[in-house]
Symmetry: C2
Subunit: 439 residues, 2 copies
C-alpha cells in the first residue's frame, strides 16, 4: 500500500472523533478566524483579495479548448493539460521541455480576459517562450535528472512573464511575478505515463496567470528568489548555468524549438525522418529485403517494442513504425496507430525483417538507416532531429500535420487565422476556433 | 542584478521581433492549437475541463476574509494568505509548520461552494489537519532545512484531503487527489520576510481545492507519487520517516497543535510565558532590580534586538518584551508593539536591566527567567512551549487573544458561532462573520 493509498483510505473513511478532537478542531477554527479577521487589512491580504476579485470580475472570460468559458486561471490550467494530452506538441532541447503547452494557454487566457489584441498577444507569447527557454537552460540537465519536469517548472516562469506582459507590468512588478513563481513552480517527472504529465503543463500555465495577477495587485517577494540561498534553483537541483542569460534581449533561443511530425514516441522520430527521406527519393517497400536501424542505446529501453499488438505499443516500436513509414503510411496521423495496422500482413512481414542495433557513436537525437533491397543494393539515410530545417519546410510539415489531425478544412482555417492574428479581430477569430465543441 | 530583475527587465521592455521571430511564434501557436484541438476529447482534457467548469459553476460561491465572493480556488488562496499575514496562527512542531492557514481556507471554500453543513465541515477539517501533520512528520526536518516551507508543502496535502472529504471522494479518488498534489505542492522558506510567506499558505490551500476537484472529475496520477522513485519526498529532501503513519486512523496528532498567545516572534514565547507566570503570582515590575533570561543560543540571532526603536523591532526583542510582560502589558495584542512602547521611560529603564544569556542546555522551546528583586531576593520561572496545556486553559487564552485582536464583542460572537457550527445554519453564520468588510 502506498502512502497516498493509506492516507486516501483514512481520509475517505468515517472517523471516530471524540470530545477532545472536536474541541481542538474548534480551537483551531476559532483561532484561524481570529487571526484571519485581524489580518484582513494587511498589504498581502489586500493584494491577494484584489487578485481574487480581479479573477472573479471576468468569471467567464476565458475560452476552453473544447468549449466553455471560465476564469483565466482555470482556462490556463485546462488548456495546458488539453494541449499536452497527446504529447504531440513542440519540444525545446535547450529548455529540456515543451514550451508552448505552458506558455500559450497562460498568454491566451490573460489576453482574452484583458481584451488584448493579437499583436500584443504575439509579443507576449514570444517573451514568455523565450523566458521559459532561458530558465530551462539555466536549470539544466541536473534539474531534469533529479526528477523535475521542466515543462512544469520552467514553463511556469515563462507563463508568468507572458501573462505579466499582457498585464503591462513594469520591470519591478514583472520581477515580482517571477519571484512569486519561484515559490510556486512545481512538476515531477514521476508523473510520466499518467494524466499528471499533461496536468503539469496546465499547472504551470495557471501558476503564471496567478502570479502575474498577484504582482499586478502589488504582491511582493524576495528579488533573488530564483538563484539566492534556498531559492528555486538551489532547492531544485539546478545547474545554475548563468551563461543561459548571456544573450538575453539580443538573441532569441525559442526559435530553436523542435516540432513533432510523427504521432509517436520522440525516440522514433530521427529514424522516421531518415525513412521518409528514402521514400521521397522513390524507395518502394515491396522491394525491401531487410532494414537495419542504428540508434542511441538509451532508446532500446524506451521504444523498441518488437512485435506490437496495440496502437499504443505501435507508438513505441522501431520495427513497426519503420515498416509503416517505408510503406508510405502517414505517421503524422494519430489514427494509423491501431490494432489493425499492427496486424496488417505486409507490414508484419516487413517489420520482421527490421533489425535494431544500439550504437553509442550516435547521439540520442540521431538515427541511421540501412535498407537492403531485394535486388541486392543498399540505400542509407541518416537524420539528426537537431539539424536545422528551413522555415518553409517547417511550415509545410506543420500544415500537413494539422491536416492529418484536424482535416484539411479546419487546418486551413486555423492557418489563416494564425496568419491574420495581428489584424482586426484576429485574436477573436482564434478564440472562436479554440472553442470548437468537444465531440 | 538578480535573475528575476534581469528577466523582469527583459519581459517588461519593448522587443525587436524580426521576421524570423514572428514566423516561429506563429508556428508554435499554430502547432499548439492543432494538437490542443486534436486532444480535446482525451480523458485528461475532459477531466481538466470538467474541473474548470465545475469551478465556473459557482463563480461567486466562496467568501473572502474581508469581504467579497469568488471561486473556491481563489478564495482558498486569498484566505490562506490573509490568515497567515500576521504570522500569529497556530504551529505544529511535528508537522514543522502552520497547519490551519492552509487547511481551513481550503475546507471552508469547498464547504461553502458545495453547501456542506457545519458537521461535515468540522469532520473534513479534522481529517485535513491530521493529514498535513502526518505528511509533515514524514517529510521531517531535512525537508525544512533544505529550504522547503512545510506550511506550503505538507499543507497542500492536508488541504487536498479536507477538500476531497467535502466532495465525498472515495478511497481511490482521494488517493488520486493526494498524488496530483504531489506534483503540485511547493513553497520555499527563502520567501520568509516577504509576502511570499503568507502566500505559501494560500497557494497550499488552492492546490488542495484544485487537486480535489480534478480527482472528482476523474483525473489520475501515479499511486506512489508521494514516496516512489522521483516522487515528492525523494525530490524534496524528505526524511521519509514511515513511522509517521504508524498510528494513522487510531490516534490523532493534530491536537498537539500550539497556539500563539503573543503577537511577536515565536522565539520569545517561552520567556513571555515564564514572565507571565511570575506576574500572575503577583510580581510587580517596579520592584524589579534585574532580569536574566536564559534561552537556546539559536534565538540570539533571531530575536535579540537589544534596544528596539520600532514596533517591528519590538517583536524581536527579548529585553523589551520581557519588560513589557513584567509591566503587565498585554503581549497578545498587536497594537502594543509600537514606537511609543519602545520609547516609554519605565520600560526602557527595565529593559536596560535585562540580560540575555545563551544556554545550550535548554531546548529551543524552553526559556528560564531569573528576576532579582530590589529587596534582594530572586524569583525564577521556567517554561517549555511544548508542555501540555489543559484544554480549559487553552480556551481561556484563545478567547483572550481574540478579544485583544477583534474586541470583546466580535470575539465573543465568533466563539459562539464556532461553538454552534454543527447546529442549524452554523456554517452560514461563520461565513457571515468571515466576510466582515475590510476597513
Amino acid at each position: 500500500m502506498t502512502i497516498a493509498q493509506n492516507l486516501g483510505a483514512f481520509a475517505a473513511s468515517p472517523i471516530d472523533a471524540d470530545e477532545r478532537i472536536e474541541r481542538f478542531v474548534r480551537f483551531s477554527l476559532f483561532d484561524w478566524a481570529t487571526v484571519g479577521l485581524a489580518g484582513r487589512n494587511e498589504p498581502v491580504s489586500r493584494a491577494a483579495r484584489e487578485m481574487a476579485m480581479s479573477a472573479a470580475a471576468s468569471p467567464d472570460g476565458a475560452t476552453l479548448l473544447g468549449g466553455g468559458q471560465v476564469t483565466a486561471s482555470a482556462a490556463a490550467l485546462a488548456n495546458g493539460a488539453t494541449s499536452h494530452a497527446l504529447d504531440y506538441d513542440d519540444t525545446h532541447f535547450g529548455h529540456i521541455g515543451h514550451p508552448s503547452v505552458a506558455i500559450v494557454p497562460a498568454t491566451l487566457a490573460m489576453a482574452e480576459t484583458r481584451k488584448a489584441d493579437g499583436k500584443i498577444f504575439l509579443d507576449a507569447l514570444s517573451v514568455g517562450l523565450e523566458t521559459a527557454c532561458r530558465i530551462g537552460a539555466w536549470l539544466g540537465r541536473s534539474h531534469y535528472e533529479v526528477g523535475f519536469h521542466q515543462t512544469g517548472t520552467s514553463g511556469a516562469f515563462g507563463a508568468a512573464a507572458a501573462a505579466g506582459r499582457i498585464l503591462r507590468l513594469d520591470e519591478d512588478r514583472m520581477m515580482q511575478a517571477l519571484c512569486l513563481t519561484a515559490t510556486r513552480a512545481a512538476g515531477l517527472k514521476s508523473q510520466f505515463g499518467t494524466m499528471g504529465k499533461p496536468l503539469n503543463a496546465g499547472f504551470a500555465a495557471e501558476v503564471g496567470v496567478t502570479c502575474a495577477l498577484l504582482a499586478e495587485a502589488g504582491a511582493q517577494s524576495t528579488p533573488d528568489a530564483i538563484e539566492g540561498p534556498q531559492g528555486f534553483g538551489p532547492t531544485h537541483a539546478g545547474v545554475a548555468d548563468d551563461a543561459a542569460f548571456d544573450t538575453l534581449g539580443r538573441e532569441w533561443l525559442f526559435p530553436g524549438i523542435s516540432y513533432k511530425f510523427h504521432a509517436c514516441c520522440h525516440g522514433l522520430h530521427a529514424m522516421l525522418e531518415a525513412a521518409r527521406s528514402l521514400t521521397i527519393e522513390g524507395l518502394n517497400a515491396s522491394d525491401v529485403e531487410a532494414v537495419a536501424i542504428r540508434t542511441h542505446p538509451r532508446w532500446l529501453a524506451v521504444c523498441n517494442q518488437p512485435e506490437p499488438q496495440t496502437g499504443l505499443q505501435a507508438k513505441f516500436s522501431y520495427r513497426l513504425t519503420a515498416a509503416m513509414a517505408l510503406a508510405g503510411i502517414d505517421t503524422a496521423a494519430l489514427d494509423v496507430y491501431n490494432d489493425e495496422t499492427c496486424a496488417r500482413a505486409d507490414l508484419v512481414a516487413l517489420r520482421d525483417r527490421v533489425t535494431v542495433i544500439p550504437d553509442d557513436a550516435l547521439s540520442d537525437t540521431e538515427a541511421h538507416l540501412t535498407v537492403t533491397m531485394k535486388a541486392g543494393e543498399q540505400q542509407t539515410a541518416h537524420h539528426d532531429i537537431l539539424s536545422k530545417t528551413e522555415p518553409d519546410a517547417i511550415e509545410r510539415r506543420l500544415r500537413h500535420k494539422s491536416s492529418a489531425l484536424l482535416g484539411d478544412r479546419d487546418a486551413s482555417d486555423l492557418w489563416e487565422t494564425v496568419a491574420k492574428i495581428d489584424g482586426p479581430n484576429g485574436l477573436s477569430a482564434l478564440i472562436g476556433q479554440i472553442g470548437m465543441s468537444a465531440s
